[in-house]
């Protein structure tokens, strides 16, 4: 039982990070119908920026709490500029091009960012300074530590904040309008370029926070860390229904749970025939099943509504 509880905790913490990154994919898709494959790299850049800021601030003798807040702020700012530039340079000129063109530039941007990070931060692994004493708590036999709690709570808080922005503010209304019909929104006086830019900046700021959270909980940052994470988060977004914010959150948490429970119990269920080496296969198997029965994902809108 305590093993089961531990796997649930593992899955929820991992899943909340997936969810946060998945939001970035889904926001952009919802508005532009574009899969921004560079998003995983933005997460990585966020982690790297935060790490650089943190080490130099600590080096200058800043108090840890202040250094932490400042470096999150700097990383978010840096990623917002990056997100804006990516959209402006790589996607906006192709907005009316066939769908395949921006998809290819997205992959190109991701390769450029990865190599740029390799040139700036080098090929080595950077260890993330331990900022707070990481106490662990026993909870019904399962162990959870402070950083995991912070990651989970912070992720939920950010998601809740995003829901408020999208559903309760003027900006959110403009975003939903652009998502529904760009031309109609423009005719109603919505500046779609501005809305799209802000969407990219918002998604990138979330990516910076996610990057920092991942680095802090695993204690490392590396220029290659965005690749697998981006892939997983994209899967989560598709699972939940890409284009739908609640779907991304649900998909992220579900994917985290599926992965940890899959790794934990697949061997027992199949009598040792499959082992934890089928962990990823299991996650994608669930994805395929979901897509067969609900092609637009768990909470995704039906395509007819978009047309």
């Amino acid at each position: 039982m305590e093993i089961f509880l531990q796997q649930i905790i593992n899955g929820l913490v991992q899943g909340s990070v997936y969810a946060l990154v998945a939001l970035g994919y889904t926001m952009v898709y919802g508005i532009l119908g574009l899969i921004n494959f560079a998003h995983g790299e933005v997460v990585m850049i966020g982690a790297m920026l935060a790490l650089s800021a943190l080490t130099s601030l600590l080096g200058m003798g800043a108090p840890p709490a202040l250094a932490l807040l400042l470096s999150i702020g700097l990383a978010m700012l840096g990623c917002m500029v990056l997100g804006y530039s990516i959209e402006r340079i790589a996607y906006r000129p192709l907005r009316h091009a066939p769908r395949l063109a921006p998809l290819i530039t997205a992959i190109g941007v991701s390769i450029v960012l990865q190599n740029l990070a390799m040139m700036i931060w080098g090929r080595e692994y950077h260890s993330f300074p331990q900022m707070i004493a990481n106490h662990s708590h026993t909870f019904g036999g399962a162990i959870i530590n402070d950083i995991q709690i912070i990651v989970f709570v912070l992720a939920l808080a950010i998601m809740a904040g995003l829901m408020v922005v999208v559903h309760r503010t003027r900006l959110g209304r403009a975003m939903r309008a652009v998502a529904e019909n760009q031309h109609a929104a423009q005719l109603m006086g919505v500046d779609i370029n501005r809305v799209i830019s802000i969407t990219f900046m918002l998604g990138s700021a979330l990516a910076a926070v996610a990057g920092m959270m991942i680095s802090a909980s695993y204690g490392l940052a590396h220029y290659y860390m965005g690749f697998l994470l981006g892939l997983k988060a994209f899967t989560a977004a598709v699972l939940g229904g890409i284009g739908n914010l609640r779907g991304a959150m649900l998909g992220g948490l579900l994917l985290g749970l599926i992965e940890s429970l899959g790794a934990g119990y697949i061997g027992d269920f199949t009598g040792g025939f499959f082992g934890s080496n089928y962990q990823d296969v299991f996650a994608f198997f669930v994805l395929i099943i979901v897509l067969v029965f609900r092609p637009s994902g768990l909470l995704g809108e039906r395509l007819a509504e978009r047309a």
């Binding site: 204690g219 290659y224 934890s276």
Partner: protein
């Protein structure tokens, strides 16, 4: 639109600049009449293991720079060695493309690849084209068991290393219940399998065998499974990008057990990544410690001054190049067909070991040293004697 033409002009310029970076493919001799000998090298220069791959490239480059500075003469002509270094991304598919590219560039020999998973598929291409391949670090038993005459390595194989580690775990550390995780690469899987064989033979029981992959960062799920089986030692077959975080997550899950890994985890990076969870971890490295080798200390001092701390395999790359050049000098030819027999019978004092190959191209003898992290540093514990090469 003038803007478009300016833009396309820019693209053309960039494309030309990029093409300009390609190596010129003139063969033979250069302006001063020196014989040009190309040596290929391949390791992952991008991806999670890029820092190790770069370390390999640096070790190879230093040997080549040394040889050029010495003004080596082969067959009566002064030789200029040229390094062609390629990125195989630790990916078996890419490795075959890289191998073909090196063959097309008419290299006299190849130092590489770094991983077993890349060295094995590439070795067929080198063998078909009669090009000598010396891997500094591929340890999978299969690598030299394919019957290729061109395939060598300057490091003990997994059968040798896995046997020492399995025995050490079961006997010296008195581990009764052992859990094993491997990364499903040719290296990780091979080492884990040999470890399991040896541990079982020495009376230990394998209570869990779980898996991950060479890009993963999160191991909490498999570690939780391991925790449920209550082992007293965990062995990881894989490389440092996973071994470090794994040790850290072990501690976070309050698993009190001994952590052990192979040469893939024996780097300063491991201690960086695992933090204080690294303390007490075990790893092994074929060969004796560098400072016990004649010339070892001098090598590491020079390397550190030039490139920074040694990550892992740089000394083995240095030896691989030197042993190749020694064979060329002996036969007076850089033609792989001609110097191959001399290489197979060579006896060369390298910085990592006395290098002699058996009939398969494996390193003869080969001591293995077990290390432990003590006070935040890898400390050698014991060098386990000369072990006969694997029987299969």
């Amino acid at each position: 639109m003038p803007l478009v033409s300016v833009r396309s002009l820019l693209f053309v310029t960039i494309a030309m600049l990029l093409l300009g970076c390609e190596k010129s493919t003139t063969t033979g001799s250069n302006m001063s009449g020196e014989l040009i000998v190309r040596i290929g090298a391949s390791a992952p220069l991008t991806g999670p293991q890029a820092h190790l791959g770069k370390d390999n490239e640096n070790g190879t480059r230093m040997a080549i720079d040394d040889a050029n500075a010495k003004g080596i003469v082969i067959g009566g002509r002064k030789v200029h060695f040229e390094l062609i270094s390629e990125d195989d991304q630790a990916d078996p598919k890419t490795a075959t493309i890289v191998a073909q590219k090196l063959v097309d560039n008419k290299v006299s020999g190849v130092i590489g690849h770094m991983n077993s998973g890349t060295s094995i598929p590439a070795s067929k291409i080198y063998s078909d084209n009669g090009i000598v391949q010396i891997s500094p670090s591929a340890t999978a038993v299969n690598y030299t068991a394919q019957g290729f005459k061109t395939t060598f390595r300057v490091m003990a194989n997994d059968a040798q290393q896995g046997r020492v580690l399995g025995e050490y775990a079961a006997k010296n550390l008195a581990a009764k219940y052992i859990a094993v995780i491997d990364d499903r690469t040719a290296y990780g899987q091979g080492l884990a399998d040999e470890f399991i064989k040896a541990a079982k033979a020495n009376g230990a029981q394998i209570v869990a065998h779980e898996y991950t992959n060479d890009k993963a960062m999160d191991f909490t799920a498999v570690l939780t499974v391991v925790k449920g089986k209550k082992p007293d030692l965990l062995f990881y077959g894989g490389m440092v990008p996973q071994a470090g975080p794994m040790a850290k997550q072990l501690k976070a899950l309050a698993l009190n057990l001994k952590f052990m890994t192979g040469d893939g985890g024996f780097t300063p990076e491991f201690i960086n990544l695992a933090g204080d969870a690294a303390e007490g971890a075990y790893a092994s490295l074929p060969g004796v410690t560098l400072d016990k080798m004649p010339g070892g200390k001098a090598f590491s001092d020079r390397f550190v001054a030039k490139y920074g701390p040694i990550q892992l395999y740089a000394p083995y790359c240095y030896d691989a190049v030197n042993v190749m050049i020694a064979a060329m000098q002996k036969t007076g030819s850089a033609d792989p067909g001609k110097y191959l027999p001399a290489l197979a019978n060579i006896s060369y004092d390298g910085v990592t070991a006395k290098i002699q190959f058996d009939e398969k191209g494996d390193l003869k003898g080969g001591a293995i040293t077990v290390y432990q992290v003590l006070n935040g540093k890898w400390q050698p514990l014991e060098t386990l004697g000369v072990i006969a090469p694997a029987a299969h």
